[in-house]
Amino acid sequence: MPRYMVEQAGIVYEVEVRQRGEHDYTVIVDGRELVVDACAVEEYVCSLIVNGVCHEVHYSQNRDSFSLLISGEHYELVARNRRSRAALQGGAGLVSGRQLISAPMPGRVVKVLVEPGQRVEAGQSLITLEAMKMENELRTPTEGTVSEIAVGEGDVVTTGQKLAVVE
């Protein structure tokens, strides 16, 4: 029986999933048994019927991490098979003292406001990124020294691309 540790907003739930039929499941959440009918109706959309109640779930998935949108509510969860729950408890955490500043969205680098080797304060702007007529200042969450600037002015970057490192 597949068992999952599901974390949402700091709370960990133990969930067992038993497939009964094509769409039919029994799902046990922290010991409570639910009748679930789950059906993948579109790419990135699944329809759940939990004890008769319908939920349309919009999701994106990145390995164990799920980003869900249900009736306008946004949820971020991590779901792992029990076998790998040690990893969940270990946590990802931040490598203290080293901050990777990456692009939160695709855009164009309008300005690079600091230089490698420069000392920066927490909250100081490092780079101005423009997308869709808006300029967005990207800041360092911690103080430190800029150890790397990975982009130049005018560069077009994609989501998640490394922009700078502060140590």
């Binding site: 597949p2 999952y4 599901v6 949402q8 907003a9 709370i11 739930y13 969930v15 999933v17 497939q19 094509e22 499941y25 799902v27 959440v29 639910l34 679930v36 789950a38 059906c39 993948a40 109706v41 579109e42 790419e43 990135y44 959309v45 699944c46 759940l48 939990v50 939920h55 779930v57 919009h58 999701y59 998935q61 164990d64 799920f66 869900l68 949108l69 249900i70 009736s71 306008g72 509510e73 946004h74 949820y75 969860l77 991590v78 779901a79 792992r80 098979n81 939160p104 969205m105 695709p106 855009g107 164009r108 997308a131 869709m132 007529k133 808006m134 967005n136 077009v156 989501t159």
Partner: protein
């Protein structure tokens, strides 16, 4: 009537204008940048011509390139939409000098209203109310006398200043002396000039605007108001007609003031006169937008008038087909602007590919979209994807319809502000009509922060099921682990097909 109109714009407003033209049997010509070859406005137009690189300054903002397309295609009129060149009086002049009709007011009216100082002067002359103010205050006695003529509360502002520095709100006369002294000293240290003047302080300001329509024969009508106080960082996000706040008397007075404003600059076509309204229903001219407004649909829904068609008729020299008394407010309408932005992450823009799209429908719902499924929302332009509007017999019905339409709206692949709209539309203060222009920034967003999402259990179940499917998939096809195309959906679809045809 025109045979062919060039729409010098892109996105949903270009689609909107093409729709009006098509309904009038007028051919449409559009322009597109390199980023927009596959955009919806190009697919909907009758003719399309490329005008260069993606950045607007090299394409949509280059008047000469657009004039070149107008010549090449044989268009006889240009509709500028909103944004881009729509309020550029030089472009309007350029078009007219080339023998084309510019679908908008005379260049002179655009110029007058575009210059804020000139606009205030013209409005003052025309008797349109402005926020009352004083000349620079010489001393405390003169200040007392002048401010008594305006009424408290007032705000003291440095003549040289800006950015909020040296400003002081004064609620009653007793506070004046010390406030004036403080404002002076702060202005002196900030700007090296201690000149200070007073203006009536608008408490709980509402942004309410009047739609006007004028022809080339001196007729000017107003089409009632739109309430636009739901703003985030001075950007309108939800608009309604009528305003749930103003009285019938204020409505009439504002309508008349707006008509006077338009007449004062010999206006023609569609325009909007923006006002601030205070708690006592006093209203003050802010500015006039000499073009179609993003939120024009709510006015169309409560009056039945197609504003874009009216613009075209007026530009073609036809007299307005209505008199003021023909126009009636029927029911209520509300519009939500659907932006590609992430409300759960400080409203960061969210360009990218729309992998799934389902627009809402049914009674009272209108959707004005500029994108389609499979479209890659480019990062060069405004993040407005669509405008969703709802009509009801009253405000409660319009809001109820909007709420259920938002619930139906599906945009996958990029983030949108749809969940944000859903939360505003459940907010008791919004439902009661109890808000002003600072509502979202000062009351709504702070209370939203850190709010835990409702009903986490359904999400927990969903995540477990999705994790289970992912494992099953990986077990079935170990090589396709990272391939999003081999989704559970495809698999379920295949299974369904088998079962259905087998049974």
């Amino acid at each position: 009537m025109f045979k062919k109109i060039l729409v010098a714009n892109r996105g949903e407003i270009t689609v909107r204008i093409i729709r009006a033209c098509r309904e009038m049997d007028i051919r449409t010509v559009v322009v597109y940048s390199d980023a927009d070859r596959c955009a919806l406005h190009v697919r909907y137009a009758d003719e399309a011509y490329g005008i260069g690189p993606a950045p607007s300054v090299e394409s949509y903002l280059v008047g000469e390139k657009i004039m070149e397309v107008a010549r090449k295609s044989g268009a006889d009129a240009i509709h500028p939409g909103y944004g881009f060149l729509s309020e550029n009086y030089r472009f309007a002049r350029l078009a007219r000098e080339a023998g084309l009709v510019f679908i908008g007011p005379p260049a002179e009216a655009m110029e007058s209203m575009g210059d804020k100082v000139q606009a205030r002067r013209r409005m003052l002359e025309a008797g349109v109310p402005l926020v009352p103010g004083t000349p620079p205050l010489e001393d405390i006695d003169e200040a007392r006398r002048l401010i008594a003529g305006i009424g408290y509360p007032v705000i003291l502002k440095p003549s040289a200043g800006g950015g909020g520095k040296g400003m002081r709100v004064v609620h009653k006369e007793e506070e004046l002396a010390s406030a004036l002294e403080g404002a002076r000293s702060e202005a002196r240290s900030a700007f090296g000039d201690d000149t200070v003047y007073a203006e009536r302080y608008v408490t709980k300001p509402r942004h309410v605007e009047i739609q006007v329509l004028a022809d080339n024969h001196g007729n000017v009508l107003h089409l009632f108001e739109r309430e636009c106080s739901i703003q985030r960082r001075h950007q309108k996000i939800i608009e309604e007609a009528p305003s749930p706040f103003i009285t019938e008397e204020t409505r009439r007075a504002m309508g008349e003031a707006a008509v006077e404003a338009a007449q004062a600059v010999d206006y023609s076509g569609a325009g909007t006169v923006e006002f601030l309204v205070d708690e006592q229903q006093r209203f003050y001219f802010l500015e006039m937008n000499t073009r179609l407004q993003v939120e024009h649909a709510v006015t169309e829904m409560v009056t039945g008038v197609d504003l874009v068609k009216m613009q075209i008729h007026a530009a073609a020299g036809e007299p307005l087909p209505y008199r003021q008394e023909d126009l009636r407010l029927e029911g209520a309408a509300i519009e939500c602007r659907i932006y590609a932005e992430d409300p759960d992450n400080d409203f960061l823009p969210s360009p990218g590919k729309i992998v799934a799209l389902r627009v809402p429908g049914g009674p009272g719902i209108r959707d004005d979209i500029g994108v389609f499924e499979g479209y890659e929302v480019p990062l060069y332009y405004d993040p407005l994807l669509s405008k969703l509007s709802a009509w009801g017999r009253d405000r409660a019905e319009a809001i109820a319809r909007m709420r259920r339409a938002l619930q139906e709206y599906v945009v996958e692949g990029i983030k949108t502000n749809i969940p944000f709209h859903q939360r505003i539309l459940r907010e008791p203060a919004f439902l009661a009509g109890d808000f002003d222009t600072r509502f979202v920034d000062e009351r709504f967003l702070p209370q939203e922060e850190g709010r835990p999402p409702e009903d986490p259990e359904r999400a927990v179940i969903a995540a477990a099921i999705l994790a289970y499917w992912a494992e099953e998939r990986a077990a079935l096809k170990p090589q396709a682990g990272s391939d999003r195309e081999t989704s559970a959906w495809t698999r379920a679809g295949r299974r369904d097909a088998t079962r259905r045809w087998g049974g």
